[in-house]
Structures are given as C-alpha cells and as structure tokens.
C-alpha cells in the first residue's frame, strides 16, 4: 500500500509545483517570491513532516493557503519566507494530530495566522508554544465533553 502512496506523490508533485509557482503572481506585491528550488525543498520538507506525523495529504490546498495568508503578514520577509513556511507546516500537522482532526484545515490556518499576528508578533517559536497550550486545552475539553455526553463527533471548540 505504501508503494502506491509513494508513486502517487511522485506523479502529483509536478502538478503541485506549478500550482505553487503560480502563486508568485499574488505574493509578488508583498515582495515574496519562491524559486523552483525553494518549492521543491518545501515540498520535500512537507512530505517529511507528513511522514513523521503519520499523515497522508494528497492535495496541496493547505500549503497554498499558508502562502496566500502569511504572505500578507508584515513579519514575513523574503529571507525567512521558506523557513517560515516549513515551520508553519510542522506546527499545522502537529496540531491536526493533537486536536484529533476535529478542527477543519482552513479554520486552523486562520487561527494560526491570528495568533501569529497578534499574540506572537511574528515569532514562530512563540506561535508553536501558544498553539501547544491551545491543543492541550482543546484535548482537555474534548475528554470532558466525551466523558459527560459520550462520543460526540460534532463537537468543536470555538476558535
């Protein structure tokens, strides 16, 4: 089964590269541009993170959303652009696991952006630690909820 997944990644990567490079048109106005090599490195890092957290993602929507959302931030500069994107992927998939897939992708990306801009003032380390606390609280609520009412799949913490 894993062979099939791998072959898919290979065949889809071409398509993903083009989609991401196309976003340069939008991010250029914030002074941010990704080269082909940057994108290749980022996709490789993302695959590594997914593998590390035991997750599978066949689309590239989350990466695109990160680029679109975070490129608007005044805390992101061309020098730290790729590193920031890699770090954001790492935090994102960590949170997906820690919140047991109970928070939708877009909600989570926007939550990350909001905390990054306001609480953390552009510090990725701080963002990571804030979101770790957030995930812990989320799980506590989840346990409390399932203890009181049994399994409830529709439960969602307000973010």
């Amino acid at each position: 089964m894993s062979r099939i997944f791998n072959s898919l990644y290979v065949s889809m990567q071409e398509e993903h590269l083009t989609e991401i490079l196309d976003l340069n048109e939008k991010t250029q106005e914030y002074g941010l541009v990704l080269t082909l090599k940057d994108v290749q490195c980022m996709i490789a890092a993302r695959s590594q993170v997914l593998y590390g957290y035991g997750r599978v993602e066949l689309g590239i929507e989350v990466t695109k959303e990160f680029i679109e959302e975070f490129s608007k931030s005044s805390f992101i500069q061309q020098e730290n652009y790729v590193d920031a994107l890699n770090e954001l992927h790492e935090i994102f998939y960590y949170l997906k696991n820690e919140t047991e897939d109970k928070i939708g992708d877009m909600k989570l990306v926007h939550k990350m952006k909001e905390v990054f801009e306001n609480d953390c003032e552009g510090s990725l380390d701080l963002l990571k630690s804030r979101l770790e606390e957030y995930a812990e609280e989320f799980r506590r609520q989840l346990m409390k909820e399932s203890f009181l009412e049994g399994e409830d799949e529709n439960w969602d913490l307000k973010i």
Binding site: R55, V56, K96
Partner: protein, 478 residues
C-alpha cells in the same frame, strides 16, 4: 496455456496467460496488475496511469470522509479508505473468469467506472446479505446455546448496522463466536458475511429436518460426554447432528434420527475398529449419499455436506486408532441415578434494589460474624449468592468465615463453577484438583480454593461426591 519462462527478474510466469488461481483473492487488483506487468500485458506507464486514477478517487473520498473540512488524514485512515476502494475494484475484476479480460478492462475502460461497478457489486451483495439475515432469523433454532443465539441476535445485526460500503467495505465489523462446520476466513467484508450467513442458513435448515426434541437431547448428551456446559461452549451444532445422523444410518437406524443407543454404539465401534482409513471413507461416503437421498436435500446443501466429509473421515479414523470414538459418536448418556435436583429459579431472585441495599448493609457491618449471619439469614437463592460473591463486599478472611458456614452441598455447587475447566478431565477428582497450582484471579474463588485446601479429607470426599452427582444442565446461571 502457453509455455513457462523466466522474466528479467528471474520470476516464473506463464507466457500468454495469467492463472487466476495464482492471484491473491485479497488485494486482487494489485496482484492482477503486478502479474500483468510481469507477463507484459501491462506497461509501467499504464500501471502508473491506473494507480493515479485510484489515487484521485482516494483524494475525493478523503474529502468526503472529512466532509470537506480537511485534505489530510492519518495514514491509518487513508490506508483504510484506499483498501475499501481496492475492495470494490476487486469485487468487479474478480467477477471475470479470465484475468486477461479483467486486465483489458483496466487498460481500456475508465478506472472510475470499474470502481463504480465494484461499489454496485458490493451494495448488491450487502442487500442479499440483509435478506439472508431475515431468513436466518425467521428459521432460527430454539436452542439454549449462547454463541448461536448471540451471533444471530446481536453480532450479525451489529454488522448490518455498521457496515460502510464506501469507507469500510473490507471491514468485517462483527465479533462472531459461533463456529461454522466449514469456514473460509480468506474472504473479508460483506463477501465473508454473505458466505457465513449462507452457510449458517444451510446448517440451520439441515438441523430443522430433525425432531427438535432429539436435537435438544443430543446437546445434553454431548455436554455430558464432554463434561461441560454445552450452553456456553463453542461448537458446531450442524456437525454434531450430521455426524450422528450418519452414524444412525451406519448402525441400522433411520436417516432422520440422531439418537444412538448403547447397542448401536457397540456395533459402530466394532465396525470402525476393524476398518482401514480408506474403508472408513467408503462407508461414510455411502452413508452420506443415503442420508442425502432420504432427506431429499437440495444440491447446495449436498455440496456443503460433501465438503465436510473428509473432516469426518479423518476424525473417525483417528478416534478409532486412539480408542476414543465416544467423543464423536454421541450416545444417549443417562444421568446418574442419584442425581440431585437443584432449584435455581430465576424468577425468585432478589431485585436489584433489594440486593444493593443488602450489600450496603453487609459492608457496613464491622465484624465478620455479623456479616456471615446477615448473609445466611437474607440470601436464599443461588444466583443472589453469586451476585453477592462477585460484588466484592467481603474481604480476606470474611470469605473463609462464610465458606465455613456453608454446607457440603453449597460448597459443591460453588466447586462446579470454580473448577469448571478442571472437571472436564474425567481423571481428576476434587482432592487432585486441589493439589493443582492454579491461579485464580477472582478473589472469592481464590479464597474458596484456599478454604477447601484446609479442610480434612473426609469433608473433601463428601463435597467431591456431591459434585460428581451434579449435572451442568441443572445449573443455568446465564
């Protein structure tokens, strides 16, 4: 078909053809594609294209699974969904008798259509399985065998309720305890369940051809022969009935009878002891044909029965060699003449509220003598005693005090429960059971054993005698 050659990897393949029997029934599509690639039916480019379509389907299903909320899932979930997709594809491609034809479909027809047709096949199978369940329910045997009843009343409905054609098609999703005479565990998901129910239906149909009183008696005799409580053991009823019907024919009885008297048994024993394995095979085959004719069985049931024949031949040959035919030929075993009649009336049990109140009172007593007195004056029925013992309301030597207050009869009843496994062996009596180093996990049982171990030989002998006179069918605890 074609000649055999070695490909570049040195693997053997059949030139011009792929044998269906050499492909895996589970993961059929993958096995078919790999065989096609090796045999040159499929190019690696085509293989990649097919794989990509499966992945696109996976991507869409992940989206459906997360209700559009997430594009990533855990590896476990993704693998599960992909296995479900491949299960549907297998369902369609396996329906072609020739693997080459299935490969041609994979190459030329949109893979999506193959998947969709597979889903239709799985759905159709699920509908048929539901129908089978209704028929099984309507013709269910009236027998007090827990595994049989639980499987039909609880496990099968759980499967029908939980089965998911899209995300979980390969999952069998039911804990089935009741064993079939012939089971094919290679199948998965709804195809396994359909097969299980078809066979269960046939087995039930066969058992219904006999007098139900005889069936119930056979179960009792079987329990006595094996020295166990047949209600809670896992065994196949059809096998038991079929064996005895065949033995009935072989010993001069009728085909629709399952009773074997002692004199019939002697005749069979004499016969089997003098036969070779192939002769045993021959007489069993003849008896099976005769039984099929007498009962006017339909072809499916005949085929199923024939599939079991070799198993019976081996068992009889083996038992004849080891002088243990009584374990296969179940004869009418009379109860011991001194058997005790015990009353375990369910309806006289304490209510939950009464019981809880009493347990509370027992726990509130400070001295063990008070506790014992309270128990002896308030508990009358055996089930209530068991509930009390299992409620952990006593500690350490309080158990000892209670057991010492019991008479031999009460201790013998508890002994039948605590030493259930050990009593299966005919050679063990109570004193030798007490010498075994068995670890009892439940506290009251541990204390009970310790208490007996401290008693004198005469008392143990008296309790052991009571235990021997007691039959499990008199003790319905469940």
């Amino acid at each position: 078909m074609g000649s055999e050659n070695l490909n570049e990897k040195g693997e053997l393949y059949i030139q011009g053809g792929i044998r269906k029997s050499q492909l895996h029934r589970n993961q059929y599509t993958i096995s078919l594609m790999n065989a096609g690639l090796r045999a040159g039916f499929l190019s690696s480019h085509e293989m990649l294209r097919i794989q990509n379509v499966f992945m696109q389907i996976l991507q869409e299903l992940i989206n459906r699974y997360t209700q559009g909320e997430s594009t990533s899932v855990t590896t476990e979930t993704a693998e599960n969904i992909l296995t479900s997709i491949m299960y549907a594809s297998d369902a369609y491609l396996y329906s072609f008798d020739e693997p080459e034809k299935a490969l041609t479909y994979l190459k030329t027809i949109d893979v999506r259509r193959i998947y969709e047709r597979g889903v239709e096949k799985v759905s159709q199978c699920f509908i048929e399985t539901k129908q089978l369940y209704k028929e099984i329910m309507a013709n269910k045997l009236e027998i007090p065998v827990v595994a049989y009843n639980m499987t039909i009343d609880e496990s099968l409905p759980v499967f029908l309720r939980k089965y998911g054609i899209i995300f979980d098609a390969h999952n069998t999703m039911a804990s089935i305890d009741y064993p079939l005479a012939i089971d094919d565990m290679q199948l998965q998901g709804v195809f396994y369940m359909k097969q299980y129910m078809e066979r269960l239906k046939m087995e039930t149909e066969f058992c219904s051809l006999f007098d139900q009183k005889e069936l119930l008696e056979l179960l009792v005799h079987y329990g006595r022969e094996c020295r166990f409580n047949y209600r809670i053991e896992l065994f196949n009823i059809y096998e038991l009935m079929l064996n005895n019907a065949i033995f009935s024919i072989l010993s001069g009885g009728e085909g629709d009878e399952v009773r074997i008297s002692e004199s019939q048994y002697k005749r069979l024993e004499q016969q089997f002891m003098s036969l070779t394995e192939s002769q045993i095979r021959s007489v069993i085959s003849d008896a099976m044909i005769s039984l099929q004719q007498k009962l006017a069985l339909h072809s499916q049931l005949k085929e199923y029965m024939n599939g079991y024949k070799e198993n019976l031949v081996q068992r009889v040959a083996n038992a004849a060699k080891h002088n243990s035919l009584r374990t296969i030929i179940i004869t009418e075993r009379e109860e011991g003449s001194k058997s005790l009649v015990l009353k375990f009336t369910e309806k006289d049990r304490m209510s939950d509220i009464q019981l809880r109140k009493l347990l509370h009172q027992i726990m509130a007593c400070k001295r063990k003598e008070e506790k014992v007195k309270l128990i002896l004056s308030n508990f009358q029925f055996f089930h209530d005693y068991l509930d009390m013992l299992e409620s952990d309301c006593l500690y350490g030597d309080e158990y000892v005090a209670l057991f010492h207050a019991f008479g031999d009869m009460e201790l013998a009843i508890l002994g039948k429960i605590v030493f259930y496994e050990e009593l299966r062996s005919e050679t063990l009596d109570l004193s030798s059971i007490l010498l075994l180093e068995n670890e009892h996990q439940i506290e009251w049982q541990l204390r009970f054993v310790q208490c007996l171990q401290q008693m004198n030989r005469e008392r143990i002998q008296a309790i052991g005698n009571y235990m021997n006179e007691m039959e499990f069918e008199q003790m319905n605890f469940y």
